[in-house]
Structure formats: structure tokens, C-alpha cells
């Protein structure tokens, strides 16, 4: 399940939706990425090419399903103006055995950071700036 939305997500609701999908789930792994207040960040505005983002996330989930034995995966990415402490992204993977959902979850976040058309604009008291791609994110993807 993929959602690109302005609103916050509720992880309990998402887990409930996942749990009814299969009786065989033994491991559910969740990753939440949040806005940090580094350098006195005031806000972060996320812009998104929504139709393409959904398609790219679908591709990433399909790659993960080919590679690991996962029963289901959920990706929710927010856009719009967010503040320190706000949730940005939720990734949930479920599998019978834990290694599968753990690795698939990491794979999805690593790929999401470099493949999905979403951009962050950071607002500070004196300026605002588009975030630049991090070398470390490109390297994280390379390991798969």
C-alpha cells in the first residue's frame, strides 16, 4: 500500500490493515523518518511529483518482494510544510521470519531516498535552501 499525503499517518491503523492481510505474519518492521531541528531548522517543505513517486515506490516494493520473502509492504510519504518532530515517512514490511522484513525495510528506505521524486526545502531564520543529495544516501543504496 502506497500513499503520498499531506496529513500525518497513524501507525496503529496501518498495522491493523496489515494484520488482516495474512495469518502468517510473524515479524513486522516499521521505520519512521522524522524532521530534526538541526541548525535551528524552522520548517521543511516537501515537494513531490506525485504520479511518478507512486510509480517509483511501486517499483521499489516489487524489487523488494522479488528479493525477500515479504508478505506485504506499506510506504506512506508526506509532503507539504513540516516542522521539527513531524513524521516524514513510514515504511512497514511484514514477513514470516524476521530477517526478511528487516532487510526489505532497509532496502526500501535506501532506494526511496535516491529514486523517488520528492524534494526537501529547508527554512532557517536567515535563508531557505533545497537539500542536496547526500553522498551517504547514494552509498547506502549501492550496498544492495
Amino acid at each position: 500500500m502506497i500513499k503520498i499525503q499531506k496529513e500525518d499517518f497513524n501507525i496503529s491503523n496501518e498495522l491493523d490493515s496489515i494484520n488482516i492481510l495474512s495469518d502468517n505474519i510473524g515479524s513486522v518492521v516499521s521505520f519512521i523518518g522524522k524532521v530534526r531541528p538541526d541548525n535551528n531548522l524552522i520548517s521543511m517543505t516537501l515537494e513531490c511529483y506525485e504520479t511518478m513517486a507512486v510509480k517509483e515506490i511501486e517499483k521499489i516494493i516489487n524489487k523488494a518482494k522479488n528479493r525477500w520473502d515479504i508478505i506485504t509492504a506499506t510506504v506512506i510519504h508526506r509532503y507539504g510544510k513540516l516542522y521539527p518532530g513531524d513524521n516524514i515517512v513510514l515504511i512497514i514490511t511484514a514477513s514470516e521470519h524476521r530477517s526478511q522484513s528487516i532487510e526489505a525495510n532497509q532496502f526500501i528506505i535506501d532506494y526511496l531516498k535516491t529514486e523517488v521524486p520528492i524534494w526537501k526545502n529547508e527554512e532557517y531564520s536567515e535563508h531557505r535552501d533545497w537539500v542536496k543529495t547526500k553522498e551517504s544516501d547514494l552509498l547506502s543504496k549501492e550496498k544492495w
Binding site: 523518518g33 516537501l46 515537494e47 513531490c48 511529483y49 504520479t51 511518478m52 513517486a53 510509480k55 510519504h77 516524514i88 515517512v89 528506505i109 526511496l112 531516498k113 535516491t114 529514486e115 523517488v116 521524486p117 520528492i118 524534494w119 526537501k120 526545502n121 533545497w130 537539500v131 542536496k132 543529495t133 547526500k134 544516501d137
Partner: protein, 83 residues
């Protein structure tokens, strides 16, 4: 053909999308960019370092050598920074 712009590409151009008629002879993304740059100063600024601008044709990321024949929607944007 619809063109879409995101992040600082959008900011430099001052618009997020537009419909354009492409002249005959424009075959690839690279040709399209050359033509846009020749038509409008703002595109000179956007494409002054082409390495930093990604392009998608109908929601698929493509190299500048890719044909734009039959393309419905072409998007230009910086490297992604979501997640």
C-alpha cells in the same frame, strides 16, 4: 506536450507546468533542452549545469539521449532528496 518542473527548476522558471508545441526536428530530450535554452533566458539558468537536472518522460527517468517521440509529459527536476 506537457512540461512539468519541480523544486529549484520550478522556482527559477517561476512556473510548475506548461503545455508547449514542439517544433519539428526535436527528437531527443537533449534536443528539447537545447531548444528551450534558445527560446527562454530562464532555461539557460536551469540548464547551466545539465548534470544537476534529471528528466522523466511519462514518469520514467531517462537519459538526455532518449527519444521524446510520443511523450505526453516531460518533467525536469533536481536529484531527489525525499525519505
Amino acid at each position: 506536450m506537457k512540461l512539468k518542473y519541480f523544486a529549484w527548476v520550478k522556482e527559477i522558471l517561476g512556473k510548475d507546468e506548461e503545455n508547449i508545441d514542439i517544433p519539428i526536428g526535436i527528437k531527443t530530450l537533449g534536443d528539447l533542452i537545447d531548444w528551450l535554452v534558445s527560446e527562454d533566458e530562464a532555461f539557460v539558468e536551469v540548464f547551466k549545469n545539465r548534470e544537476l537536472v534529471k528528466a522523466a518522460i511519462d514518469l520514467e527517468l531517462q537519459d538526455y539521449s532518449c527519444s521524446i517521440e510520443n511523450a505526453k509529459e516531460i518533467a525536469f527536476f533536481p536529484p531527489v532528496t525525499g525519505g
